[in-house]
């Protein structure tokens, strides 16, 4: 009979698992009490599907700027703060960015792909994780325009305090698990 082993996490390990901003400061995007809902957008610099969504993400974030806090989250540990800054500038992003090298936010948000999003309500409960819309059918084919708007629908539901119709719809793009 194998003996039961109780594992106790050390303080050091917890510190390592924190997401950081581009200056290296630990940030928990779900710890603020702003009364806004929170949207995490997971991106990889080397994922063209992620990149093509930049104008869509910015449009939606502007639309809900007063009621939702958006964070861009980079789960690739090889994406340096400097490289991410350059990316933000190239794509004209005006949103705060976090590095999540240990995938702490990935796990909380339950996302698998870039670009996927996670929507948390005002109580910071996860209400939606998955794709932004159905623009991409697979990696070889994108529709001329999206015909669904899952992110938009989830934000509206969260703001209205209603249940999100589909709480999880997987996206098309690049696997986050390939980064482990």
């Amino acid at each position: 009979m194998p003996a039961a082993v109780l594992l106790i996490g050390s303080a050091f390990a917890v510190a390592q698992q924190t997401a950081t901003d581009l200056d290296g400061h630990a940030v928990n995007p779900l710890a603020t009490d702003s009364g806004k809902i929170v949207v995490l957008v997971f991106l990889r610099r080397d994922c063209p599907v992620s990149s093509r969504y930049a104008p869509v993400i910015q449009r939606i974030s502007r639309q809900y700027a007063d009621r939702a806090t958006f964070w861009l989250v980079y789960p690739d540990k090889s994406d340096s703060p400097q490289a991410i800054r350059k990316y933000l500038e190239d794509y004209g992003y005006r949103l705060p960015a976090l590095r999540d090298p240990e995938h702490m936010l990935v796990k909380i948000a339950r996302v698998q792909i870039t670009p996927e999003v996670a929507v948390f309500d005002r109580g910071h409960q996860l209400v939606y994780d998955g794709r932004i819309d159905d623009w991409y059918v697979d990696l070889a084919r994108a529709k001329p325009a999206a015909t669904t708007r899952e992110l938009d629908d989830a934000i509206r539901a969260a703001l209205a305090g209603k249940a999100v119709a589909k709480s999880e719809v997987r996206g098309v793009g690049c696997y986050i698990s390939d980064l482990e």
Partner: protein
């Protein structure tokens, strides 16, 4: 003493075609190892170094490296590992490497298709935990040529004005015009297209515009113009014969001996590009490298176009709308390459040949068409198609909600047309006429006339078919038949500048100048700066002894093309008819400065001087 030069006609070509070849990977790799293809001795433990690296180096790395079209590099273990599950997905679905045709008896050169064994090895490798393996069996990383693949070109053309691609929106189709700055005819053995930033250019075609006819679409010289499909006009039968095509991974193709492409002074190359927004603004400034050969073309292939756009009227929601075209070859040819073209509703694309003995050969089968990965396919060996062979296309279109690429949501009726939201049904075959009697003239004309005749019968409302049939008949001196066909074309498009000009020119040639005038005036109303129409109208007026009117038209023409020896000579002749001998003399002299052998100027100047001296 006015000598008439036969009227000028246009040869119309429609379609964004392209051309050449895609030599995907193999040619650039040096020191590469043959991909692992052993299916029987499948190792229990799949490792990157032994099993996966050879596949990646052979089939992925030429695009997946810095500066190339792919969004990330696949050059080593850590690169591949970072995309491992994604690679499993796209190889399982055969989205990557991008190769649309099914395997067939008639082999394509540079087939970029993984075997089932290779695809399964990749999957097993990921399932087994992406083991790196023994470094001593890792093949040497391929070495790639940076910059121009064939070395420094003999002539580099760069787009005058870059295009700024917006960060978002639908795909953009843009045409860049490259005037070719050569003073004499050159022969081109290879063309390398550098489309700008390769990550955002989906494909690009070069069309040869020998008459500058595309410049009319530019708002200002050098600006370029939008549009997925373009029409090129030319005065003489000089069909495109080369498929000059670029898509990601394309390596420039060197034409075989004797198949060089002719470039004359004044020729424009039109680069037709398909661009995809990336999420940020992109500046696209393509360039073209030309490699010359001293050897003129001795073999003249041509592009045969099968099509049936007129049948494209696809009801909303229809899942399997079939369009066909069948053309019987009037002479023996060798088939060199094939290039299919449909837009977003195209689904199943098939082409086959039925030989005179009834044997059916598949020329191409793409079960899941994808416009984004369209390509020219060149056969490993030329395929002989004897006279009487029926060449067929069978395209199936899906206009249902189930077609994710459907541009309309909900689906709407879609017809044939030039916009990307319209549909198309084209198939280009690059063929080389063989077993012909050179004494019978250009063998390509036999093919072209048969094709134009076929198109007129297939679709009596096809303007280009009537027009091109007329041009063929005119070239064979069947001028009355040609006029009949031009009339049919003009009835279909009463305002068309090229159609009216050609009919007018044919009437001038048939010595019916009075009838020609009205058509030529219509052409000029549609396009006031139409050089050929001014020129032809000058002839028509001169033919009715209206020399003052002729002089006026020739002067217009000269304003449009100042150094045209023929116009100078004919202007001189018209002035001489009006008795304005000193001015006539100066125009003859100018004509001879431009072209010392201009026959009209030469002959008339002698006579003029004799006449001036006798007074």
């Amino acid at each position: 003493m006015l000598h008439l030069r036969p009227g000028i006609n246009s040869w119309l070509r429609v379609g964004a075609w392209a051309a050449i070849l895609l030599t995907a990977v193999a040619a650039t790799l040096s020191g590469r190892t043959a991909p692992h293809r052993s299916s029987e001795r499948r190792p229990a433990q799949v490792t990157f170094n032994r099993d996966i690296a050879p596949i990646v180096f052979h089939s992925c790395s030429s695009c997946h490296r810095p500066g190339e079209a792919a969004p990330f590099s696949l050059l080593n273990y850590s690169d591949v590992r970072k995309h491992a599950r994604q690679i499993v997905d796209v190889t399982q679905s055969r989205a990557m490497p991008p190769w649309l045709p099914e395997p067939q008896e008639l082999k394509f050169a540079d087939e970029l298709r993984l075997s089932d064994t290779e695809i399964n090895l990749i999957k097993s490798w990921v399932e087994q935990g992406e083991v790196e393996g023994d470094p001593s069996v890792l093949p040497v990383q391929p070495k790639f040529v940076d910059g121009w693949r064939l070395g420094e070109p003999d002539l580099v053309l760069t787009a005058n004005k870059p295009l700024t691609l917006p960060p978002s929106g639908t795909d953009t189709y843009w045409n860049f015009i490259f005037p070719v700055p050569i003073q004499e005819t050159r022969w081109v053995k290879a063309v390398e297209i550098r489309p700008g930033d390769k990550r955002y250019v989906h494909h690009a075609n070069i069309l040869v515009d020998r008459e500058g006819s595309s410049r009319q679409h530019e708002t200002e010289p050098g600006a370029g113009f939008g549009g997925m499909e373009i029409r090129i006009e030319s005065r003489v039968f000089d069909p495109d014969s080369h498929l000059l095509f670029w898509k990601p991974g394309t390596v420039p193709y060197v034409e075989p001996e004797g198949m060089a492409m002719r470039l004359d002074k004044g020729t424009d190359l039109i680069l037709n590009t398909h661009l995809q927004p990336s999420g940020k603004p992109e500046v696209i400034q393509p360039s073209i490298g030309l490699y010359f050969t001293p050897h003129p073309a001795t073999k003249l292939p041509m592009l045969l176009q099968l099509e049936n756009d007129a049948k494209l009227d696809i009801p909303a929601g229809q899942r399997d709308f079939l369009v066909t075209d069948d053309f019987a070859l009037p002479s023996d040819v060798e088939l060199l390459a094939i290039y299919p073209h449909a837009h977003y509703l195209g689904k199943d694309i098939q082409a086959f040949a039925t030989l005179p003995d009834g044997t059916k050969k598949t020329l191409l089968h793409i079960p899941q068409w994808n416009l984004n990965w369209q390509a020219v396919y060149r056969y490993e060996q030329p395929m002989r198609l004897p006279k009487g062979t029926k060449v067929s296309l069978r395209y199936v279109y899906d206009n249902s909600e189930g077609n994710p690429l459907n541009p309309n949501h909900p689906p709407a009726r879609v017809k044939g047309g030039n916009r990307s939201s319209d549909e198309m049904c084209h198939l280009w075959l690059q063929v080389l006429p063989v077993n012909f009697d050179p004494a019978q003239g250009d063998p390509r004309m036999v093919l072209q006339q048969a094709l134009a005749q076929h198109n007129v019968e297939k679709n009596p409302r096809d303007f280009e078919a009537h027009y091109n049939l007329a041009a063929m008949l005119q070239a064979k001196d069947k001028i009355e038949d040609a006029i009949h066909e031009y009339e049919a074309a003009v009835r279909l498009r009463p305002e068309d500048a090229a159609g009216n000009n050609a009919l007018g020119a044919a009437l001038v040639e048939a010595e019916h100048p009075a009838q020609a005038v009205g058509y030529l005036q219509t052409a000029l109303k549609a396009r006031p700066d139409y050089f050929e129409a001014h020129y032809n109208l000058g002839f028509a007026l001169a033919g009715q002894d209206d020399f003052a009117g002729a002089v006026e038209q020739f002067r217009f023409a000269l304003k449009l093309q100042p150094d045209d020896a023929n116009v100078e000579a004919n202007l001189g002749a018209a002035l001489a008819q009006m008795g304005q001998l000193p001015e006539a003399k100066s125009h003859f002299e100018h004509a001879l400065q431009i072209d010392p052998n201009q026959p009209i100027a030469k002959e008339n100047l002698v006579e003029l001087l004799r006449e001036m001296n006798s007074h």
